[in-house]
Symmetry: C2
Subunit: 95 residues, 2 copies
Amino acid sequence: QESTENRNSLVNEELSSFTNTRQGRLVSGLIREFLEFFGLSATLSVFDPETNAGTSYGGRASLARELDIVDEDEPKCPLLTDVIKAKKPSQKTSK
Amino acid sequence: QESTENRNSLVNEELSSFTNTRQGRLVSGLIREFLEFFGLSATLSVFDPETNAGTSYGGRASLARELDIVDEDEPKCPLLTDVIKAKKPSQKTSK
């Protein structure tokens, strides 16, 4: 009874406008890379139709490049780990 | 045929040891916050049993505190956006 068209309507508008921004695309790309990294196929099979994230995802290497992350040859962690590691301390004191 | 016990066995060991680290917990927390932020209930209903992330998730406020992010009163973006914004430039030159 559910058609492929219905699945697309699952994507909510707030999310759509978020993933249309550069940062939104990076964020959903990082989540997608995490799901792929750990082989979470069940989650991926729901995440993709619910978010449309699969359509704009260009793979880990391209994401790392765009985030300016020097990736390892045999990565042991999802890229999100590198992003957290590279986080500057809070701006509370510096601003 | 599938019992609740079987669902727990979906969680793979690589992911388990990752989410047992502080950084792994932060990463899966950020993903969970993203899914909640956009109300992606279908993905959440698969993500939680597949990753066990729900059990250690303490909510956005607690995650922001742990990541040293000054959160807004009415957040317009998932926390992951703040983490990406706070990313330092690549360490290519400093290493």
